[in-house]
Assembly symmetry: C2
């Protein structure tokens, strides 16, 4: 019997155990909405999706090396800057992306460079995601397939290149990362052997991380591995000072798994979600080189200090690769503490994860969520399910100031726009019909 | 409307949002039982309890040193062995406690020794809790009061002294801990400064630890502090190999806070819960030197390998000091993953914490539980509330084999027996009447 108290409705039962059991049973609030499109069953697509998502689940990310982008990223050139999200022209870049590009040019001592997405080079970068030839990058490998994915090193919090800051302190830090941190990480890995990121991801999800905006556990577990490999105290201090250090490793893990799943004919599995501050884009397994895009939304969030929603840049960064792999917003049930950063509460965190099961193809047995009694995280977004349900993928994200160089102003939740999913669905349907 | 499905009852709602809100609201299953005793209000006791629990909450545990028991524990002597729980005679010791005492005698090269509880020397030890003069101990201090509490160093998992194992490998490890690990920890603290355990406890509760049977996060955070203080790779490896390493630091933290709260005239706050494998005992703030005891129960649990309930020793160890401080079983809502170790599921973990609010005096603002939207953990057991409600404090515990030397056979949940609480209540009532 519902009772309205000062804190809202409560349900109090006494006696009949069946009613009490029902109240305590998993709740299903029917959130009925008309489908965007009614789809007929397609066993061919289902079979292709099973193959693709199995490949995603089977990937085993291992950190094998750290080297400069020029040395290791396929197709990297001295006159090329990589950036986050779908392809972008200089003139379309938002404030923070432009700030990061200009900083990277100064870092490399150049007047100009070509632009290409990180994703065109098996790489990912958070926020502006700018990677230049001389920067050290993480090399993450799947031992079975030999496939590799790459990300840059996390600079820390505050005024950093990925949020468009590019003053001397920012560039000095990047130079130190190139000349000290990168080589020392490379040396530690060479001396002590590769680091199993899959095992760290797995444990961190049982330690309150969702691996997009909360990495304290994963960074701690990585720190243990690096210290035992003899990383210098100077470099350990840098890692210790930044609980986001693991973000780029989580992203490279996710990118690797998504690359493993790309290229399955007929599959409507999403293998990329990424934002460049201007556009939001996705790619699907059946057509992994083709972007489907829409204008990037502005995240609703919690803001630092005196910043407000009006300061927020449109959605930015390759970090939505974590959600593409069933982490981040999809794994929020693992991380009730994230609500202090992105908003909501423990219940909405669980609800976000539960809703994502509606649009995903699998439950990842390696990414168990203790709060859901070890159910695997919802993994592998199916374009068809998004179109059928109208449920938009949820993304936990940092929020950049819309002007270059100011830095992070907050964090929040954003929903992926539906248009790219509709467009991808129509493209796939036309391909199959032809 | 309740629907019985294959997985049990579910509640499905559509339409009326109020009913749905009620179903989703916090559930209160009224578990009515007759009070053990009906108590009249006593403002004097209430005031004393406020003072006592405020002192408990105000304590700030800081790890300041590591030294031998003889050097640092008040009243320690070469011919004395400390043990867990209330006072015990050799002839009453259960298998694992006897095994640990015999091992400690051999370690010290002695034929006999007196026995006293750790708790009589401001110290605590997990399981058998045996501390001998030459063992290195952790020194935890409250900076404001200068008060100190002590615990031994955690040996790791498997065959260890605290579970009654005492073969050569066990003693060799203890000798290494005395000659290498202890001095190196002392040196790291001397060189790098004290370590704020309060901050680690606070963070670990947001990272899936409940700080009695799950310490992976706290051990990781401690590891970071120790590595930055230059602890040797050999000693770091020992810490890294044992995610229970932090247990003894959590226990010393809790002991310190409980000692700070002891000795408030008229207060019915519990400042000790401890088991010696034969008896379970408590002490209260108003009479901190007096034990109230009952026979120790046998924990119900999950068992390792082929062990069964029949192998379990009665409840053992000072580690219930964590529950006395609002951690462990009281903070299970922080640690749904603990259910893999002690049984139950995510819901029963939350329910255990919710029930403990019924018998505690405060919510610890430093021990926030993200799954309860950052509500403070239920802290400070009130003997009167236990007597009024009949709710027994819940304890997460390791389970020892009842024969000496076998080691850990499982872990589980145990409820404190009610008799000591009733006895303490009658004693306090008589004191106030006289």
């Amino acid at each position: 019997m519902p009772i309205l108290g000062p804190e809202g409705p409560r349900a109090v039962t006494a006696g009949a155990a069946l009613l009490a059991d029902c109240l305590e049973a998993p709740q299903v609030r029917v959130d009925w909405r008309p489908p965007l499109e009614r789809l007929s069953p397609d066993p061919g697509v289902d079979a292709a999706n099973r193959v693709a998502v199995e490949r995603m689940l089977a990937a085993r990310p291992v950190l094998v090396a750290v080297a400069t982008a020029l040395e290791t990223i396929p197709g990297m050139r001295p006159d090329l800057l990589l950036h986050s999200g779908p392809p972008l022209r200089w003139e379309d870049a938002s404030g923070p992306l432009r700030g990061a590009l200009e900083g990277a040019l100064r870092l490399e001592g150049r007047d100009s460079a070509d632009l290409e997405p990180c994703h065109h080079h098996d790489a990912v970068g958070p926020m502006a995601g700018v990677i230049s030839a001389g920067m050290p990058v993480l090399v993450v490998e799947d031992p079975d397939s030999g496939r590799r994915a790459y990300s840059n090193l996390n600079e820390g919090l505050g005024r950093v290149l990925r949020y468009g800051a590019n003053d001397d302190a920012v560039l000095d830090r990047l130079r130190w990362m190139g000349s000290v941190l990168g080589p020392q990480l490379a040396q530690a890995l060479a001396a002590g052997g590769p680091i199993d990121l899959g095992a760290i991801n797995q444990r961190a999800l049982q330690m309150g991380d969702e691996l997009h905006n909360r990495h304290r556990a994963a960074t701690s577990l990585l720190f243990r591995e690096l210290a035992l490999r003899g990383l210098s105290t100077e470099s350990l201090r840098f890692v210790d000072a930044n609980d986001y250090f693991y973000l780029n490793l989580a992203m490279a893990s996710a990118k690797l798994a998504c690359e493993c799943a790309a290229g399955v004919e007929g599959s409507s599995l999403v293998v990329t979600m990424a934002r460049n501050g201007t556009e939001f884009g996705i790619r699907v397994s059946a057509a992994p080189d083709r972007w489907f895009t829409a204008p990037a939304g502005v995240p609703l969030g919690l803001f630092l200090g005196s910043y407000t929603q009006a300061d927020a840049n449109p959605d930015l960064g390759d970090s939505a690769i974590t959600e593409t792999y069933g982490l981040g917003g999809f794994a929020m049930a693992a991380a009730p503490a994230i609500t202090r950063v992105v908003g909501g509460n423990a219940r909405t965190a669980v609800e976000a994860t539960l809703q994502m099961y509606e649009i995903t193809l699998a439950e990842n047995p390696n990414h168990q969520l203790p709060a859901l009694d070890f159910r695997g995280s919802p993994t592998g977004i199916d374009v068809r399910r998004v179109v059928e349900t109208g449920i938009q993928p949820v993304i936990n994200t940092g929020i950049a100031h819309r002007e270059a160089g100011v830095g992070q102003v907050g964090a929040g939740l954003v929903r992926a726009p539906l248009e790219p999913f509709l467009e991808a669905h129509r493209f796939l349907a036309a391909e199959r019909a032809s």
